[in-house]
């Protein structure tokens, strides 16, 4: 009973954090990128940079942490093949854990991308870190492509997250 309940709670939290993270990722890519471009062209982009982006990026990057940590905990509760811990079996792409393992690897690459590329470049773009205009322009391009890269990876990542209960499609 307790194992079932803790697994369900972790899955629930993982999905909630995932919605927060990927929901904001989709907001940045499907809504904000084009809206900010138009607002900047009209000379009205400052409120987006000052009020919306810092707040959205806060929930975005910590949503990524929550999703990854709870996901890792959830994997650890699943028994893997040959007595392996589920976390190790998934990241080792072992047996029936290979599909969720691919999803876990994609999510991990996305998570690293958020903290190592997107966030440091956004800090320069938003003036939280000193940067020349040339550096800002470069950061804008790098952050844009990294964000689009994560949007692309989110599509197979979500596939592997939701096909867990449909193992027969892999046989």
């Amino acid at each position: 009973m307790w194992e079932e309940l803790s697994g369900a709670l972790l899955r629930w939290l993982h999905v909630l954090f995932g919605i927060l993270w990927v929901g904001l990722l989709y907001y940045f890519n499907f809504v904000n990128a084009e809206a900010a471009k138009q607002a900047n062209a009209a000379g009205e982009g400052a409120p987006i940079s000052k009020y919306i982006m810092p707040r959205a990026l806060f929930f975005f990057r910590w949503g990524a942490v929550g999703t990854w940590v709870v996901g890792a905990g959830l994997l650890s509760t699943i028994p893997g093949p040959n007595g392996l811990n589920g976390f190790l079996a998934a990241f080792g792409l072992q047996g029936n854990m290979a599909p969720i393992g691919i999803g876990a690897w994609l999510g991990t690459i996305m998570f690293i991308n958020v903290w190592a590329i997107i966030w440091p470049n956004q800090q320069k773009i938003l003036g939280m870190k000193p940067a020349t205009d040339e550096e800002k322009a470069k950061s804008r391009r790098v952050a844009f492509l990294a964000s689009r890269f994560n949007t692309m990876l989110s599509i197979p990542m979500v596939w592997f997250m939701v096909t867990g209960p449909h193992q027969s499609i892999y046989h």
Binding site: T151, I155, W159, F160, Y170
Partner: protein, 37 residues
């Protein structure tokens, strides 16, 4: 060649193509484990 990530449609289509590729990789990994190869 234009970077597909510069457009939203290019990003979504690239994601779908990757999903198909990874699906076959996953199938291969599961089959390899079940045959003990």
């Amino acid at each position: 060649m234009k970077n597909p990530l510069d457009s939203l449609w290019g990003t979504v289509i690239s994601g779908i193509v990757l999903t198909v590729i990874f699906f076959y990789v996953a199938q291969w990994l599961v089959a390899r484990a079940s045959t003990g190869a």
